[in-house]
């Protein structure tokens, strides 16, 4: 809450300063919107800068990346194995079913 109050106070002070400059005709009225737009542009630039700096400093942790890749491989093979086992069970079930119905299956 206090942080917001501080920021609002700064914004009010800057706008009071700018309105004072405008009213006393130090800056012509054609340039009324110069200061707000300047601050918005600099805010955008600041955001971009922070994103760029964060990108540059982001750590990649190569060992953790390797471990993660191994974990992913393991999981993949585990799922593959489960899938193959289920398929085999299904094949056996289907063969039994057909044998009950006296269909010659002639398997390999």
């Amino acid at each position: 809450m206090k942080h917001i109050v501080k920021i609002m106070a700064v914004v009010v002070a800057i706008s009071a300063f700018w309105v004072g400059l405008l009213q006393t005709s130090i800056v012509s009225q054609d340039y009324t919107w110069l200061l707000p737009i300047y601050f918005i542009v600099s805010l955008g630039c600041y955001g971009l800068l922070m994103v760029g700096i964060g990108l540059m400093q982001f750590p990649t942790c190569p060992q953790e990346a390797l471990l993660l890749q191994q974990v992913l491989y393991l999981r993949f093979y585990y799922n593959l194995l489960l899938y193959v086992i289920v398929l085999d069970e299904d094949i056996l079930e289907a063969k039994d079913f057909l044998k009950q119905r006296d269909v010659d299956v002639g398997s390999d």
């Binding site: 110069l34 600099s42 600041y46």
Partner: protein, 80 residues
């Protein structure tokens, strides 16, 4: 992979710093020079310092609205 990240980050910060310095110089420092100084040749007239950011902001908001509308319509069509 990390060098690509670092290159993109560096490019972003370079772009932002150059835009900031150009704009600051344009808006704040340029009026303090004499009107027949040669440096005015490299900068557009000062009205453009207001028009260009406003135009870019309006274009950004339009793009955002179109994107949100497009995503909403696509999700609605998929549900229906």
């Amino acid at each position: 992979m990390e060098s690509a990240d670092r290159a993109v980050g560096f490019l972003l910060s370079l772009i932002s710093l150059s835009i900031f310095s150009y704009y600051t110089f344009w808006v704040i420092a340029l009026p303090l020079f004499y009107t027949d100084h040669f440096v005015h040749k490299y900068f557009l007239p000062r009205e453009y310092a207001i028009i260009i950011p406003v135009f870019a902001g309006v274009a950004l908001i339009c793009f955002l609205c179109m994107f949100i509308g497009y995503v909403t319509l696509k999700s609605k069509k998929k549900k229906a």
